[in-house]
Subunit: 362 residues, 2 copies
């Protein structure tokens, strides 16, 4: 009876513990896709400058004399999941975009912000100085609502307006296109590569070592940020669009296209060498022609992919570790200029996860 | 023995269930302050309009002919905790501010976004049209970096620059003041009460019944939104600053102050009556003088508090349920114009929680 009693007790204990663990697992990041367990989240401004107006502030008149103006900072929203991986991800949007790039996709699915939180990464999404929530600029700007969305439809390679590319990984729902266009935001001051890379370097200085993920225009600004910050341990760059830096005296010839000419940017060799010390991967999507095309929305990417390859070759010639992945060449088709929010963005995220794992960065 | 065995089993079961519940509670909103359990989070644009330019789009030239421009939407970031309460909170910033108002406080503590997620509310933080992440405006704007921060220091009642008010609930750390100034953002188009209240009404139309939380300039726009949306079930308004609506023919005399004159806004009685159908609470902080003051940064709030009281009286005379709470009168001292991010914001949040509970809205 005593033995039977003990066995019963043990069975009961194990059953209840099992129920207990199963109930708890709903709260774990890897348990149920529906739940995100966040250890800490918040927002802050980082970097930037202060204008101090001469004179003495008069509290009765409150005119600009003697007042200050803080501007040109980046705005950052961050989330730290439970038991985070060792290196955070810093997600930097491209031209005309803001943090929304990485949030909910135009058709309402999860973007990189959520996907990589679920994979255990700390995620920092930023608005670069003079864009979105970092709108306070120390330089003036004149804004006008110039209709431009069909141009972005073409340049972001969804298709040639009003036709979608065959097989394009973009929802045909009109609501998706509306959300896509509404994720544009104006520049509230001139775009300044130094101001922007300073602010993102200040972010890394604040948070410590991490991985920089760039898109399009932030690609080139990302190289400048690596030169400024020793805390960037890797770069994942989606469709970098300009400002490929090369050692002085070793800049390739400018590349003409029907969408404009792209030039490399010379930097001192000692700066360039900083880009050879960390692993870098570059991804380009689909619908980039191999031969010159009359359509500027596609042709501008032909020369960028070519320049990216020359750039990676230069980095690797100097002992670096840069890879260019043209997605259709590995069988991943239909991607636009924003692969990370395309319909197959889980697959695109998996490629990034695998690369991070391969480089021992996860 | 059988009875003893049953009693033991029962005790064991209860003990293990208790352990199980206690282990699970780390995942619950009320359990451990360090963890937020989010069922869903994301962002979207809502409301707004579309400009369609005449002509035909030419993909080779990409000039504005035949192109569109989506603008004047609100931008919304939302989080739904596990097992949310029945009504979501919609948090709407004030003049010169954006969603940051509700996020991390200037001195790095949790703002209403996190505090009310922890209390089980779905939280929607928005940027109104033509502000922050909702920067795409259908109207032009000219932006200039006019030094204005000492003015805000005074108007937001931290003190009279450079002196802090005695006992003010605001950190003396210079970093806190820097973050505070950097949570300002410019208007990327003219402020338009109709555009803004339309967008927020569209948000409620999308998400259904909820509670609107306003601050300062959004206070008055909030009344307009209640008139437009049957889904707003209550309003919590911090320091509403303008656009107090009264029935036509029953508008109080304008109120002069050293910080300008405040006028009530006439609306049809049928519109005004909509404000009498839901509970409304208004909070004002400290350092608001009872008698006229030469300091405009304080005196402008004296007339607003007076107008708010006249307004609540008018609502209640018509059968409504509006309450004005002047925080020092209930013994809560030191609050600025932004009580929800002041050093005592937990106490301020508790007042709101208690009010929601009293009104059966939690």
């Amino acid at each position: 009876m005593k033995t039977k009693f003990r066995k019963l007790m043990l069975a009961l204990t194990l059953t209840l513990l099992s129920v207990s663990l199963s109930a708890c697992s709903i709260a774990e990041r890897s348990g149920k896709p529906g739940l995100l367990v966040i250890q800490e989240q918040g927002s802050f401004a980082v970097g930037g400058t202060v204008i101090t107006n001469p004179g003495t502030f008069d509290p009765l008149k409150m005119t600009p004399e003697g007042q200050t103006f803080h501007g040109d900072h980046a705005y950052v929203f961050y989330q730290i999941p439970e038991n985070p991986r060792k290196l955070p991800l810093v997600l930097w949007h491209g031209f005309g975009q803001f943090s929304k790039t990485w949030e909910t996709t135009p058709d309402g699915r999860e973007g990189y912000q959520n996907l990589f939180l679920r994979r255990g990464y700390e995620v920092y999404v930023l608005d670069q100085p003079r864009r979105g929530n970092a709108g306070r600029s120390t330089q003036p700007a004149t804004l006008a609502p110039v209709p431009d969305e069909q141009r972005w439809f073409n340049i972001f390679r969804i298709g040639v307006w009003p036709e979608y590319f065959s097989g394009v990984q973009f929802s045909r729902a009109s609501e998706a296109l509306g959300q896509y266009f509404r994720q544009l935001a104006p520049d509230t001051g001139p775009i300044d590569i130094d101001v922007n890379s300073d602010a993102v370097a200040a972010l890394f200085d604040k948070i410590g070592p991490g991985i920089l993920v760039t898109h399009s225009h932030s690609g080139g600004m990302g190289w400048q940020t690596v030169i400024k910050s020793p805390d960037i341990r890797a770069v994942v760059s989606y469709e970098p669009g300009s400002n490929f830096v090369f050692p002085e005296g070793d800049v390739p010839a400018p590349k003409p296209s029907s969408g404009g000419t792209l030039e490399g940017v010379p930097v001192p060799l000692s700066d360039f060498m900083k880009l050879t010390k960390i692993p870098i991967v570059i991804y380009y999507g689909d619908y980039i022609p191999e031969l010159p095309s009359k359509n500027p929305g596609q042709d501008m990417w032909r020369i960028r992919l070519e320049m990216a390859r020359l750039w990676a070759d230069a980095v690797n010639r100097h002992g670096g570790d840069a890879t260019v992945v043209h997605l259709p060449e590995i069988g991943v088709r239909g991607n636009t200029h924003l692969p990370f929010s395309d319909l197959n963005n889980l697959e695109i995220a998996n490629l990034m996860s695998d690369w991070l794992a391969k480089k021992g960065l996860d």
